[in-house]
Amino acid sequence: MALEQLSDVVQRCQAIKDESFSPEDYDLFLAAGRTCIEQGDSAQVLSILVDEKNKNIVRCMGWNLLGPLVQMLLKKEDKNLPHCHAILSHLLEVCSPKELLVGLLEQVEEADSASIAETVTLLLKPLQTVLLRLGVKKASSVGMALSTLLSQVARLPVPVTKEQEEDDVFGLCRCCTALLKFVKPFVEEIKEVVKDNNRMSRDNELRVELLKFCMKSLSEPLLEVQLKDPDTLQKSPLRDFATEILIILSNIGESLPDLLSRNVLKRREVPGFLEEEVRYPKESLACMCHLLFVDHIAVDIFPAVLSPIFVLQCNMEYIELLLSRTEVSRLQKGLELYEKSLVRVEDNSLPVDLLELKTFFSVPQNLVKVMTLCPDQTLRSKGLKVFQLSIDKFTTEAKYKFFRGMLNTSHHAGVEGYIIKNIKNQIDFSLKPCNGNDWFLGKHLLPLLRLVLCLPHGPETDLLQNLDRIMESLNLLRYMLIRDKEWENETGIWTELYKIEDNYLKPLRTGLNMSKAHYEAELKSMKEKKISSKDSKASVCTVTVDNEKLPNMTPEMQIQVLQSALFTFDLIESVLARIEEIIEAKERHLS
């Protein structure tokens, strides 16, 4: 039935002059054609379409059959496939490229999540054929195609383990490999263009579209992907994809070292400057740097002569971006990039003026957030490891400035405690023969110590909350009093001691006594309450988290908490007492 209808409309249209077909003609052709294809009569449809007499009809109306055709091809029913492929090839040759492009991209866009990979891999070659037919005007169409394709491919789940990458169940690897083949002729064309490195060639439309494609790929899917190294997975389509993207960038005239240093070396305002910013999204460049320096992708096309300090400086921009995000994958990559950049630099080599750069302040701030707030324990630990590594790379003066900055801004007792421990290590180092310096001995040390040996809120400071900080600072003080003999006084601590006693030790002692008394009283009354009242379920306060009330603390638990607090105070007290002992011994010694 449908076949007859198709023959009829085609025959009628043969008579129409100048291709002035009516909308009804189009509709009839499409309806009949679709039905025939869906019914499996593709052989007959093919013979109608290739008939010379129907050439004009096919050229105008043929592309509308793309939809049903592609659906048939995706079904992969063997008996129909060869004819359907033949129909497709014919249409690709005969119909208008622009219309074909629209039809094909529509199919890509409309693919549901289960069939994205199949659709993309099926249609890449046809799309390439059509685009090449567009000749010199193809640039914007290439751009549109690449954008549509990548948007769909980015929806595919990213393999996590090496087995998943090998199995490629959702087809991401297949699509990436096919995409590379797809862009190849366009890249070859541009290679010729960029031989003359001038403004015109840089603004070449096709080049810009390819650049956009590379940048977008770096962001999605590459930023999400965790590449496996060659020892783990010898043949990795994703690694090949990443490598090829960087090679393409290089081939279309983008210098990788220039991309690395883009955000650090601000160019003078050039016409179209804003456009330049948009062309190079920071996130994509961050991914590129991670590929280069952590995964060692395309390392043989990247010059080995750059100074490690300069590379670190450039990477800080991208580290800052990655560490300011909350997704585990971004944080992981940020930490890895930071670590790899630091490792290349010699210890004690980063000079103090680097600290004047914005990123050398903001990255540690971000790192502190990761160390203290990130729910993932591995990331917290790694964050701390990288934090210490970064400290080790600074010169002595820079360490000093950094510690001072952190003490003033971190507002977190754990971090402060960690910094104070580092200060102690630096003082210890400086006291060794031939290590003397102005920063952790001499005139600069005392102002730093004043930041360490103080209670943020005087005697009312919450000792439990500030435990880490207080313990480290007491340890530091105890260490200095033992290590630095009072007759040498290299650190100046002995002359400063009376001030420390007044400003720190005495208020601390007061606070300690107050806290102990308070908690002891609480404990006593809790115990009495427990004995006297049968109904030990009554609680003094309730705690609500996220609209859910937490189970009330039983009296047993409350007692435990109070005892644990008292134990903590004992800890502080033991160090404090030891310090007071040392001081007393010296004073007796002197008098």
């Binding site: 070292p257 043989d300 002569v305 750059l306 680097l354």
Partner: protein, 220 residues
């Protein structure tokens, strides 16, 4: 010895707006001995001095200068640390720290092909070069010269601003001694290359001496 500088302004002029602070500071900085400037806190960037010094103080200093005649060249200048330290201030975004340590250069150069001997790059110039780098045992660890001549037409030499610490020190120092068109062999000791760390990713072991053949193509 040159004659003492003359008083350009009289008392009346000094007090008025006719003589702005910055001009006064400049005059004193240009003509007074270093120690005089140090005592009167007039050293350093004119803008900063203008911020901290009052007009009255400057007039006072100006008068004192002519009374004491402590002009430049009249005293043995004590070259202080500030004057000696080479600190280059540039746009805040660029960090250029120049090592103050002097010592013998840690590279040697042998000229393979002479350059024009007239055009030498200065710090901050953009240079372009073809190069290949080998280890002492001959392993090539890096090069930007493609294998075939045809490909060389399609590639570009490496471009960067020289003397600013963006490349290893051996390169920064070495390239400054080359003239346009020159091809040289630079043997760089590890201290001015990748030092104790090396670059394992790029096959450079720790403490490696690097040998480069560099052709300086252009200077901008």
């Amino acid at each position: 010895m040159a004659a003492d500088p003359a008083r350009v302004w009289n008392e009346e002029q000094l007090k008025t707006e006719e003589v702005p602070k910055k001009e006064l500071i400049k005059f004193i900085q240009d003509n007074a001995a270093h120690s005089f400037l140090a005592e009167h806190k007039l050293l350093g960037n004119i803008k900063n001095v203008a911020k901290t010094a009052k007009k009255e103080q400057l007039i006072e200093a100006y008068n004192q200068l002519f009374e004491s005649k402590r002009f430049k060249g009249t005293e043995v200048e004590l070259v202080t640390e500030e004057v000696q330290a080479v600190k280059i201030h540039d746009t805040p975004k660029e960090s250029k720290t120049e090592a103050v340590d002097e010592g013998p250069p840690k590279f040697t150069k042998s000229i393979l092909k002479k350059g024009d001997k007239t055009n030498f790059p200065r710090k901050g110039d953009t240079v372009s070069c073809w190069y290949s780098g080998t280890l002492e045992d001959g392993t090539v660890f890096d090069t930007n010269i493609p294998a075939s001549a045809k490909k060389k037409k399609q590639s570009k030499p490496l471009s960067f601003k020289v003397g600013l610490g963006r490349v290893i020190r051996g390169w920064d120092e070495g390239l400054l001694t080359m003239s346009k068109g020159e091809t040289a062999r630079l043997e760089i000791e590890s201290d001015w290359a990748y030092g104790r760390k090396g670059l394992p990713d790029s096959k450079i072991p720790p403490n490696a001496k690097l040998i480069f053949e560099v052709e300086l193509v252009s200077i901008d």
